[in-house]
Amino acid sequence: MTTAAEVRTREPQPDESAILVVDDLHVTFPTLGGTKVRAVRGLSYQLRRGEALGIVGESGSGKSVSSLAMMGLLPRTTQISGSIRLDGKELIGMHDREASELRGKKISMIFQEPLSALTPVYTVGAQVVEALRVHTDLSKERAQARAVELLDLVGIPNPRERAKAFPHEFSGGMRQRVMIAMAIANDPDVLIADEQSTALDVNIHAQILEVLQTARRETGAAVIMITHDLGVVAGLADRVLVMYAGRPVELGTTDEVYYAPRMPYTMGLLGSIPRLDASGRSALVPIEGSPPSLANLPSGCPFRPRCPLAIDICAEEEPPLESVRGASHRAACHRKEEIETNGWSVGDVFPVPELGIAPVERLPREQRPVALAVEGLVKHYPLMKGVVFKRRVGTVQAVDGVDFDIREGETLGLVGESGCGKTTTLLQILELVKPQAGTIQVAGKDTNDLHNAHARKALRRDLQVVFQDPQASLDPRLPVGDVLAEPMRTHGYDRKHIDARIKELLGLVGLEAGHAGRYPQEFSGGQRQRVGIARALALEPKLVVLDEPVSALDVSIRAGVINLLMQLRAELSLSYLFVAHDLSVVRVIADRVAVMYLGRIVEIGVVDSVYASPSHPYTQALLSAIPIPDPDKERTRERIVLQGDLPSPADPPSGCRFRTRCQRFLTLTEGEKQLCIDRYPPLIPMGPDHSAACHYAEPVAVIPEQSKERKRRRST
């Protein structure tokens, strides 16, 4: 294996304006078994004052570890070598007390998990005051006043009152704002934002990015944004650093990296992202395999096993990070010159699989049998109070009259923020019991007519589910063969039949038949989700309910699973109910989309029509909040940022439920507003198979057109 010392990855010349200089950073975690996990191997970069750098990579690529090393927050046993200089001061090997002086003052970090990063027993204000007083000798009163100012800056309404509230009284997005306030309290020179996108809803996420922008503007700090999502950094970062297996593999200005990637991994990442501005249903670019284990790296280029361009030299020597053209754009690939001169793009490097079409899809929609029909579905939860004598104090209107249907061979995407009732809808369908009100028909059978467990069990064959987290949905103590056998055993298949089917299923989802004897934990996340899909297919169902099936997966794995789902649908004539909060995934996989808000569907229709001309203000806001991995578009895009959080479903606003956050509502005259306050709008047809529930619905295009160059690439 080529050691990192041989591979020169240093920055050519130190830059005078650099606030942070990372030079040949290595981080190694020794393990009990004596093997060493080399989490970061030779990372070098410079951060100029006020610059925004995006560090992009999958889990295990070393992106978070390198920033923790910077903060001095890694465990004592970690071996760190190289140098990190902040404003000329060496951070590595610094005493913890000295480091504490810098942390929070010159360099601060916004952590990933807003739920656990605030102390639950102190008020929010007190925590911001503490952050201030640790580093300055402000008086208590002054610090308190400053804390309120900071909370105001990050967009907390009524900051004076809210400062006295405890973290549990804040929503996730609000807590994230508080954390940003704490991070910028002392005007740091460097601000590290670690995976802001993962724990938050799309809308809240857009709000947070906006706040981060404000914070950057106000403090003039250089920002390092760590993320796995290339879309997030496209509009915000000046430069992008892509990491893979602990090494930087591409570094350049945002435009260079997005428009002219020179390392196959970056290309794959860009191609594997489902894009809002994609045209119609199309396969994504899958990167085969999964990231290597850091304890046992392959020799040569770590990306070689997954790289379609790999040649002999890739197995022998790890390519250094060298400039491609000009000094700023650098890539670590042996064939970067070739890529450069031939002008290869994603489509040329990665083979895009062909997607078939199910025979049933050739029929017009009206003639196809209905796989699932939901009409007027209602689910209310009573809100109880009291210990001994429970009394009803309210009703949570989780689902309040939802209608949709799915035809055979069709995919309906059900989207909305968390708390909008999409999971309740899904569970109601899966329970197969009589709903509180309304009807659910699965494969033509009404659940109101299922009078015994036997009939219900028979119907379950037609309806299967794939869960969000493959880690949680597979029994860790059950070998994969038994996992797949379970549904068949339950429905009375004989042993021989089951054995044959298990092998078939494993082949169907791209795993080997020999894997049947292994436990789920021996598989990677993507493979595990494939097992989950295979289990759902075991009984040859007509309808598969997919509950955010890819949101727990790494970006490069995601595309493969989405492609698989599309392929299976075409080959087995399946119908999908695809529940997601990610509108871009839905764009790629779904035929029709239904947008939910507070227990009701606000817009429903064919994907092309809804995405091209969203008519409900909520859909418009959702779509505009999703980042597109295209720097030019991102910079010029107009974002509709919704104010505040989702109202409580126990006490929804009168009339139109969305009016409290509606951007359209604000532009109306008083007389027009009255209609929104008094009446819930019915679904108004906006076009063929497209309707929106808004009194004043009007289409607004919020997604920029796909660039010509990309269109051409797709068509070839």
């Binding site: 899958p286 085969e288 699989p353 899966l430 219900r456 069990k457 379950r460 064959r461 309806l463 299967q464 589910v465 869960f467 969000q468 987290d469 949680a472 949905s473 597979l474 029994d475 860790p476 103590r477 059950l478 070998p479 063969g481 038994d482 056998a485 379970e486 549904p487 339950t490 429905h491 021989k496 039949h497 089951i498 054995d499 044959a500 089917r501 298990i502 092998k503 078939e504 082949g507 169907l508 989802v509 791209g510 038949a513 049947a516 004897g517 436990y519 789920p520 934990q521 021996e522 989950g532 289990r535 009984l539 040859e540 493969g560 492609n563 698989l564 392929q567 080959e571 087995l572």
Partner: protein
Amino acid sequence: MTVPSQELIGTVTAESGIDGTAMLDETRVPSRGRIIMRRFVKQKSAVFGLVLLVILVFMAYVGIHFTKWGYAQPDYNSFAVTPNGSHWFGTDAAGGDLYAMTMRGAQKSILIGLLVAVLATGLAAIVGASAGYFGKWVDGVLMWIVSLLLIIPGFLIIAILSPHFHNNLPLFVFFLGMFIWQITARIVRGQTLSLREREYVLAAKYMGVSGGRIIVRHILPNLASLLFIDATVNVSTAVLTETGLSFFGFGVQPPDISLGTLIQAAQTSATTQPWLFLFPAGFLVLLLLAVNLIGQGLRDAFDPSTGIAV
């Protein structure tokens, strides 16, 4: 990603599997039972424990007939002699052959220990998991019973009832077991409450798997570590409780013997006539060792994260 071939899809949509049955038998998909067995056999210590237990059981039940002395027939010619050719483990002060007595005692202790452990842990697992999984009134009734049994002083009840046992071993085992399972049942219930919410349990439920089957297939295997440890601890608890009871004159009564009564009797002479103490105590230690090794082996065999390569 492998693209599923067209032929494969064909067999899926058509009534599949029948044509493939011929080639199946050579390459059967290994079931969980089989995999666990293989993982158990892979562990040297577990196999050693199993062999040791088999030897001990064999000694107790068959080995007792190798000597001409009976456990209740004193040799009036040799009182308190050290181990020799005739009395392999020596004799006690009354001339009883210690080898025969130890083996007879081992019979009782093995039976009591293993049966009580299986009974108590099994009951705890079933009751706790049912209460946790089904909830509602099942939970209410079962936990009410558990709480009730928890506050009854088991030791005293057995002491009071024991004159009526008349050396009835099954009844004795039943009562011993009845008084040590409740705490485990409560722990199992608590764990089940969290396991019940896991997605794989939901997945099974939406497949149409019945509650009982979900408990056996998903919940109990995921509690296996806890249950095996509990069972091994219960073996020693049972043997020790029986010893305690016998000491107070309850439990196993003369002329019958258990390892507990033997050790009890030899306590005073442990320094002067050490063999009286060492042989029965040594047997007990070996028994518990074997059970522990087996328990550990089973636990590791059930837990895929222990990294036993199969």
